[in-house]
């Protein structure tokens, strides 16, 4: 009786989260690396690699297909960005949009260094 109930539960869930993808050796190292750098669009802050959602699993099939057709890692990212937007890749990359993103922290670092240098250099005059 108990077993039956669990089986019903299971069946519901397999249909819900499962996927038709089932080779014994699912993913190569390159595929995993790509999957780690892609966001699962229907999840809350998970990568394709970390997710078991329908979307993540179909993305994995897509990645595999693209690699098999001879596309490189960056080509695959580009294709996905074109289709889904920059949101899907975790690496913001260097572009006009992300210039400030990279520049502001570096500016903080330079400014901080300058302030400390000036404080030490200037303080010599006080004595």
């Amino acid at each position: 009786m108990v077993k039956k109930r669990i089986l019903v539960f299971l069946f519901l869930f397999i249909n819900f989260i499962g996927n038709c993808y089932s080779e014994t050796e699912p993913y190569s190292k390159l595929e995993n690396n790509i999957a780690k750098n892609l966001r699962c669009l229907i999840c809350q802050g998970q990568s394709i690699y970390d997710s078991n959602s329908e979307f993540a699993l179909s993305m994995r099939v897509y990645i595999k297909d693209q690699i098999n057709s001879g596309y490189s890692e960056s080509q695959i990212y580009n294709m996905l960005v074109k289709k889904y937007g920059q949101w899907i890749v975790y690496d913001p990359g260097y572009s006009k949009k992300t210039f400030l993103l990279w520049f502001i922290p570096i500016l903080f670092f330079l400014l901080g260094g300058a302030i400390i240098y000036l404080r030490i250099y200037k303080s010599k005059k006080y004595e």
């Binding site: 996927n19 014994t24 699912p26 802050g45 970390d50 937007g85 949101w87 992300t98 901080g112 303080s123």
Partner: protein
């Protein structure tokens, strides 16, 4: 239902007490009467008492599963184990704010009792600034997040607690983290009060350090618990994802760490007054900003459980008021606390502290910009970008090398001026580090030049820190925390470069090889518990020496609410963790099995614990006069 009404009224009375405390304090600053001080003390106690009543009423409602209370209805279920009924209290927005309020009011009372030797006006102003925060939070709780909303008709069953929150580490994570967060409110109020009363000096620094240490220690502990939880509960073997919510807990930690170093300089040398004040204010801002970002639902995070935009706006307004007030106070009273224009020598502890702060602020800016930039870009250009691990790694890792090197020599510097003479021991340190580095690199078979340099600087840091333990007149609290930090970085690095993983889809009875281990999928069982049913796999792991380990990963299907989670099975040893998870695949007898070999995993937790011990040691250590 009556209970909830009492709870609400009790919070209302708490708010009224806060107003009375506020008024009493303002009046007392003008007068000079001891009588009023007693009154303040009475009403602070009363305020705390009312919050406690509210807290226990909510707790009781959770325990007896009183579903006429909306918070209980939304987050509990009668079949839930008692432990999670208790922790369910702060596993949601309303309850967690009540907990926040409880810590906030108890800290104020504690501050008032423990600061009797400090100037009267400084204490009163601290109470005033702190009451502004307390009143803000009271109104926030009562207006937007009342934990005592009543449901009618009374539902017969609750909706249950999100199963991934039903976990011992996560159950105690919020209280610990909140003590850290809320401790910064005392630092903030105290900093503003010291500004106003012209009390920013070494005595103030000495007293404030205690609060900085308490916040810092608890915040570290809270972050540790969160990471441990993410490691075994989220089910894919990572412990830090540069997820926005994680970043938000890291930001106040970074500025607190900077403040902890800076405040020592103020204590010992009466230097860096303005900078200490700014850091105190910034730390509290980051804590409130954190609450705002988490609660508003702006962030796309794996940790987002409950949010509501209207609450976000309230916190945003609150945040702006606080920023505005502190900015004005800073401008008006800056002249009251003139900076000492003493000379800072290049080779001195003062410089080391400045360099520490320089890097801390840089790290903070990377995390802050990385977290909020996508939000602003989205608002301004409505373009969505993701800022993930690659960004943080590129901007943080190269800067770690100089940071580690500075950290190695910093603690050896003396205050004012260090007379550096060439010693033959420097050559020994260098050679010893070099040899150890080469051995390590050989064993890890690393080719990446950056990792080689990182290992070198870390080994150097570790050696120098260990040597510091042997010196006379040394600060053991600092040594402990620094050693813990060096070990943490080493463990993370080794773990990152040596972890291996194999993912296979296999049937029951089949087996596969991962590096040196043979993994056999022996059987599958089902199991039914009170609040979930599960499928448990039995795996046998045989290593090269024919040693056998059995692991039992699970897939759990919780009944309230219906959610499937994958429970990792982990075998922890001193040298490595073996980590296995299973997942279901549609229409097949196959299971998706993910097997990971994660060396040095436990050392990440142990070294963080050492960091925490260092903090605790500093709090309880009475003898504080180090060279």
């Amino acid at each position: 239902m009556i209970l909830s009404n009492i709870g609400f009224l009790s919070l209302l009375f708490g708010l009224i007490s806060s107003f009375i405390v506020f008024l009493c304090t303002v009046l007392n600053i003008k007068k000079n009467s001891l009588n009023l001080e007693k009154k303040i003390y009475k009403f602070l106690t009363l305020q705390f008492f009312f919050v406690i009543i509210g807290f226990f009423i909510l707790l009781y409602s959770f325990l007896i599963s009183d579903f006429s209370n909306e918070t209980v209805y939304n987050n509990s279920h009668s079949t839930k184990p008692v432990f999670y009924k208790v922790t369910g209290l702060w596993g949601n927005h309303e309850g967690s704010l009540l907990l926040w309020l409880l810590v906030l009011t108890s800290f104020m009372l504690f501050f008032f009792l423990s600061s009797k030797n400090e100037p009267k006006n400084f204490r009163l102003y601290t109470v005033i600034f702190h009451q502004i925060i307390v009143i803000g939070f009271f109104i926030f709780v009562l207006k937007t997040s009342n934990p005592f909303d009543i449901l009618f008709p009374i539902p017969s069953e609750g909706l249950g607690l999100n199963p991934i929150l039903q976990d011992p580490a996560l159950a105690i994570h919020p209280p610990i983290l909140y003590v850290g967060y809320v401790g910064t409110s005392i630092i903030f109020a105290s900093a503003l009060a010291a500004m106003v009363t012209g009390y920013v000096n070494n005595i103030w620094a000495k007293n404030l350090k205690k609060w900085v240490l308490i916040s810092w220690t608890f915040l570290t502990g809270g972050i540790l618990l969160g990471s441990i939880w993410a490691y075994y509960e989220l089910g894919w073997g990572g412990f830090w994802f540069w997820d926005p919510v994680e970043n938000i807990s890291l930001m106040p930690w970074l500025s607190l760490t900077a403040l902890l170093h800076c405040i020592s300089t103020l204590e010992k040398r009466d230097l860096l007054k303005n900078w200490s004040i700014i850091l105190s204010i910034v730390t509290f801002m980051l804590s409130v900003t954190g609450t705002f970002l988490v609660r508003s639902g702006i962030l796309n995070s794996v940790h987002t459980f409950a949010n509501d935009p209207s609450r976000g706006i309230y916190i945003l307004i609150f945040l702006f008021v606080i920023i505005f007030v502190s900015f004005i106070i800073f401008l008006i009273f800056e002249s009251k606390n003139l900076e000492n224009k003493k000379e800072i020598f290049f080779l001195s502890k003062e410089t080391s502290v400045l360099i520490n702060n320089w890097f801390m602020i840089y790290f903070l800016s990377v995390v802050l910009i990385g977290t909020v930039y996508p939000i602003f870009l989205d608002v301004i250009t409505s373009e969505k970008i993701s800022v993930g691990p690659p960004f943080y790694h590129k901007l943080l890792i190269p800067f770690l090398v100089p940071f580690f090197l500075f950290m190695s020599v910093g603690p050896s510097m003396s205050w004012i001026k260090t007379n550096l003479k060439f010693k033959i021991s420097y050559v020994y340190y260098f050679l010893f580090t070099l040899i150890l580095t080469i051995i390590t690199i050989y064993f890890l078979s690393q080719k990446d030049i950056l990792i080689k340099i990182l290992i070198f600087s870390l080994v150097f840091l570790t050696i120098k820190t260990i040597v510091n333990f042997l010196k006379k007149n040394t600060n053991h609290a600092q040594n402990l925390s620094h050693l813990g930090f060096a070990m943490l970085m080493l463990s993370i690095l080794f773990n990152a470069v040596t972890s291996t993983e194999t993912i296979k889809n296999i049937k029951v009875g089949e087996s596969f090889i991962s590096k040196n281990d043979k993994i056999t999928f022996e059987e599958i069982k089902t199991n039914e518990k009170k609040n979930y049913s599960s499928i448990i796999g039995t795996f046998e792991i045989k290593n090269v020496n024919d040693k056998i380990i059995k692991l039992y990963p699970e897939i759990r299907i919780y009944n309230q609410p219906v959610i499937a989670t994958s429970e990792a099975a982990i075998k922890t040893t001193l040298f490595k963790d073996r980590f296995i998870t299973i997942n279901l695949i549609k229409d097949e007898q196959l299971f998706n099995v993910r097997y990971q070999n994660k060396p040095f995993m436990i050392w990440i937790w142990i070294s963080t614990l050492i960091i925490i011990f260092g903090g605790a040691f500093a709090i309880f250590n009475k003898k504080k006069n180090y060279s």
